[in-house]
């Protein structure tokens, strides 16, 4: 197993009352898989992803990446873990406004041990010719591609995407999804993607659905479609 989540619990205190955002949740994923996480709003998707990505600590349970436990690590060790293992893509791109596209991507190339070739990657994500522009000069889809390139440049083993197409229209969404697919094939990056868009699950190797902080179902997708062929 590349990723093993076991009896994961995340408690939030809101005033006097406890709230279980994750309630004894377990699942696993193989290396090189695309996993799509589905679930209603407030079900704990982002919480789960933030814990897997080392942005937050769990209350109890275990998360192992390639046999390494990350629950209970201190913030310094978590930082190191994120640096070496994880790339993030969010719904909102959060690019650094005064850096050019190339520089925004470059920021993260200093993190990995063997970063990808930046020109190659820019070409791959379809931003050739835009390298010297600033984020405010790009469309939303283009900005999201910069964010993806930024997450990929250090060649992470795990790419976590929280509603990456949430702010994009149909056409650009599909382009972005095709990009993920390509990356998965070329670099064997394990990808976990949170989405509200049910159709996206068809391109996944594994479909996980969450409700009230618990796994409702965890299925391997037997009939994968290419991103190009899915429709909604």
């Amino acid at each position: 197993m590349f990723l093993e989540v076991n009896s994961l619990v995340k408690k939030y205190m809101s005033g006097e009352t406890e709230f279980l955002a994750l309630n004894n949740l377990s699942f696993g994923m193989q290396s090189g898989e695309i996993g799509v996480i589905l679930g209603p709003s407030g079900s704990g998707k982002s919480t789960l992803m933030n814990i897997i990505g080392g942005l937050e600590n769990a209350t109890s349970g275990s998360v192992k990446i390639q046999e390494n436990e990350i629950v209970g690590l201190n913030s310094k060790a978590l930082g190191l873990y994120r640096r070496n293992f994880v790339g993030f893509v969010f719904q909102f791109y959060n690019l650094i406004p005064n850096l050019t596209i190339r520089e925004n991507i470059e920021v993260c190339s200093h993190l990995g041990k063997d970063p990808l070739n930046i020109n190659h990657l820019i070409e791959k994500v379809g931003l050739k010719g835009h390298e010297d522009k600033f984020p405010s000069q790009l469309s939303g889809g283009q900005q999201q591609r910069v964010a993806i390139a930024r997450a990929l440049i250090k060649n992470p083993k795990l790419l976590l995407c929280d509603e990456p197409t949430g702010a994009l229209d149909y056409k650009t969404s599909k382009e972005v999804l095709e990009l993920f697919e390509e990356i998965n094939q070329n670099y064997h990056t394990t990808i976990i993607m949170i989405t509200h868009n049910d159709a996206i699950k068809y391109m996944a190797h594994r479909i996980i659905s969450i409700k009230d902080g618990q796994i409702r179902s965890n299925k391997v997708n037997e009939h994968r479609l290419m991103a190009h062929d899915i429709d909604w």
């Binding site: 933030n50 310094k76 930082g79 959060n94 406004p97 005064n98 850096l99 520089e103």
Partner: protein, 744 residues
């Protein structure tokens, strides 16, 4: 108004808001503290002049005027003339008391403590001499074999600056003081046959110049001095004006920095909240309501800061009087509050704050709701300048930092200003301290004589000439930008044992060498032609500055005796002074002035204590300003970049790398500020000295030691490191979720 909201905003950025209040407080405190103290002191001195009838001037003649002459002159020039009776009594080898007859119309004695004179057995002492030499009220003192009871301490307007000689730099209460007796008491001791007589006068200036001409024609006039050029009377005003001017300049610059900070902070708040504003706007809030919403906090902070500053300024104004009280004697100084200080201390900062906030706000609020909603004015915009400076050739971290500096150029400029100002203050402290210490050290090293006696009568000089070396000295004035300044000109004998000035004996015609301090103080240059004015003789002479002398212990022009005679067109022997290594035994009234090296040095040593304290105050102020300004501005930059910081943390950059990206390199700004601060410190010090020593016959050259520059730099670096440690904590506290919440 929603005070809960304001309180929450205040709490959320507690340290930043407190620093801001502190900065406003320091600026107002400096302005109010110094101005209130110095204004009160000046007023007290003016009151003393008025209530105790200060003279308009004084003159000394050989012999004396008859009562009839006095009366006829008074009638003729519509003035009052009064003999100013005094005699110097040597208590021992080192202590001299000038005994003054206090039964006078002019320059009356103001009692500082104790009782006024009521009998001929009573004496009043000047408070500084009494304190230095432990004379208490009730003690007895023996003057010329008569016993007097000390009944009080007091001072007359003409001895507020208790100088022994008018050309002295500073008073030296350890060795010299004044004592006041009644007329009959004075008669008991004044058995000496004085050769010269001093008169004080009051009258208007047109008649005064006629009086001088009249005296010049009919008497042997030795000195004629209007009150403005009498440093015993005048120095206190020049001296109080120096710190006052300095405080206004520093205070105003601080207020400018404050204004800068307000505007930067408002702009970034508006930018960060542009979408919220857009929504409020779209829902029908009008500009004024929004304005009121955003104007509240900064106005409140400025109000609190200026109230505190005003209060603390009031409190420190009493101790600040010390700057003057260390040198001058005045009756109890009543602190006075003036309207203009209330205006400058409270209304001005509030006005500036309101103006700046309104301007910055209305600029932002003039945008349409839609463009605000779209985030067109949000933090994401990139300006033209940022597009120009690409910093392509730099390595990643440097490039990142440089781009951030360009982006935050407003804050960076304010930071530069703040560093410049605080470091200029620090350098001023170092300059004043170092130059005073150097002056003392140079005096010890460079004054080539132990005593110089200036004789009234040529015959006396001849009698004593074997005891030392003769020299020619004359007090003259030059015109500097419309005001007359006193100088000494000295003619030196060939093969002088004392004065070894390179090039002096080759001076011809009307050539002179000048002391270096004159070059700096009056802006003289080599090659300048000067017109020397002799007020006593009412004549002028011309000289040419040929070079700079190797001596620098006073405002002197040096030349050889032959040239000296040529300048003044003298054909007979012109020596009038004697330079010696040992004191000579001569009656006080036979010399018009005595210069004594050790007294010169002691006088200035008194200054050192004061300078040290002032330098310490400036040092603390400078460090305070530096730390608050650096902290606040850097904090604003960090707050603005919060999301980006959070983002790079998410990527896994270590805290060290994050601070490299957002903090490092600002030191360059500090170094730049420091480099400019050195000349600025020089200029402030010179301005201070120019004011304080405007009418003194001395000047201290601003000077700073290399080690002080180094020290200042180290202090700056340490303060910066301290501030950075605080800021690093702020960086570390930026949450990872900051970026997750962001919806842009």
């Amino acid at each position: 108004m929603n005070f809960k909201r304001i309180w929450r905003e205040f709490k959320d950025h507690l340290l930043k808001n407190i620093s801001f209040i502190l900065l406003v407080m320091i600026s107002i405190m400096i302005i109010v503290g110094f101005n209130r103290a110095m204004d009160s002191y000046i007023t007290a001195a003016n009151n003393l002049h008025k209530d105790y009838h200060v003279e308009n001037g004084q003159f000394r003649i050989y012999g004396s005027l008859t009562k009839k002459q006095e009366l006829s002159m008074e009638r003729r020039f519509h003035i009052t003339i009064e003999e100013n009776k005094n005699v110097d009594y040597e208590l021992d080898d080192t202590h001299t008391l000038r005994i003054i007859c206090a039964d006078k119309e002019m320059n009356q004695v103001a009692i500082i403590s104790g009782a006024p004179l009521s009998s001929e057995q009573e004496v009043i002492l000047d408070p500084k001499f009494a304190a230095e030499n432990h004379y208490e009220i009730g003690d007895e003192i023996i003057l010329y074999d008569n016993t007097f009871h000390i009944v009080g301490y007091g001072i007359s307007p003409d001895y507020v600056n208790t100088l022994k000689n008018l050309s002295d730099f500073l008073s030296s209460p350890q060795t010299f003081g004044v004592a006041y007796l009644t007329a009959s008491g004075f008669e008991k001791i004044d058995n000496t046959d004085t050769k010269t007589t001093l008169y004080s006068y009051q009258g208007d200036s047109y008649n005064i110049s006629r009086l001088r001409d009249y005296l010049d024609d009919r008497t042997q006039l030795l000195d004629f001095r209007e009150k403005d050029s009498n440093s015993r009377i005048q120095a206190v005003f020049d001296d109080a004006n120096g710190p006052k001017q300095m405080s206004v300049i520093i205070g105003v610059l601080l207020v400018i920095i404050v204004a800068f900070i307000i505007s930067i902070s408002i702009r970034s708040t508006i930018r960060a909240e542009s979408q919220t504003i857009g929504i409020l706007y779209a829902q029908g809030f009008n500009k004024n309501e929004l304005m009121r919403y955003y104007i509240m906090l900064p106005s409140l902070l400025v109000l609190i800061g200026s109230l505190l500053g005003y209060g603390v300024g009031m409190v420190i104004s009493r101790p600040l009087l010390f700057i003057e009280e260390a040198q001058y004697s005045l009756p109890y100084v009543e602190l006075i509050d003036s309207w203009y200080l209330i205006a400058v201390g409270m209304v001005l900062p509030m006005g500036i704050a309101l103006l700046i906030t309104t301007l910055s706000l209305s600029q932002a609020l003039n945008k349409t709701p839609l463009s605000l909603l779209n985030g067109n004015h949000s933090n994401n915009k990139v300006s033209k300048i940022e597009k120009i400076f690409t910093f392509k050739s730099f390595n990643f971290f440097t490039k990142f930092r440089l781009k951030d500096i360009v982006r935050e150029r407003g804050s960076v400029i304010a930071l530069l200003f703040g560093v410049l100002l605080s470091m200029a203050i620090l350098c001023t402290a170092a300059y004043t301290r170092d130059s005073c210490y150097k002056y003392v050290a140079d005096l010890e090293k460079n004054v080539p004589f132990t005593y110089v006696y200036t004789f009234i009568d040529q015959k006396d000089l001849n009698k004593y000439s074997k005891k030392g070396e003769q020299t020619a000295l004359r007090n003259i004035k030059i015109d500097v930008k419309g005001s007359k300044k006193s100088l000494m000109i000295q003619g030196i004998t060939p093969h002088s044992q004392f004065f070894k000035i390179p090039g002096i004996h080759s001076l011809k015609n009307n050539e002179v060498l000048v002391a270096p301090c004159l070059i700096t103080k009056f802006g003289l240059r080599i090659g300048d032609r000067l017109t020397l004015i002799d007020d006593v003789e009412n004549k002028t002479y011309n000289v040419m500055i040929k070079g700079i002398s190797s001596y620098d212990y006073g405002q002197y022009l040096y030349t050889n005796i032959k040239t000296y005679n040529h300048i003044f067109n003298i054909h007979k022997q012109s020596y009038n002074a004697l330079v010696t290594n040992q004191p000579i035994d001569i009656a006080e009234e036979k010399v018009s002035s005595t210069m004594n090296k050790s007294e010169m040095i002691n006088g200035i040593k008194n200054l050192l204590t004061m300078v040290n304290i002032m330098a310490d105050i400036l040092l603390i102020g400078a460090v305070g300003i530096l730390m608050t300004v650096v902290y606040m501005l850097m904090r604003m930059i960090i707050d603005k970049a919060k999301i980006n910081i959070s983002m790079v943390k998410i990527f896994g950059f270590t805290p060290d790398e994050v601070s490299k990206m957002y903090l490092k390199g600002n030191f360059v700004i500090l170094i730049a500020g420091f480099i400019f601060a050195l000349p600025a410190g020089y200029m402030i010090t010179k301005m201070l000295y120019d004011s304080i020593m405007a009418n003194m016959q001395q000047y201290i050259l601003p000077y700073i030691k290399l080690s002080s520059i180094l020290g200042a730099f180290i202090i700056m670096s340490l303060s910066y490191m301290g501030t950075c440690a605080l800021l690093k904590r702020n960086l570390d506290h930026v949450l990872l979720t900051e970026a997750l919440k962001n919806r842009e």
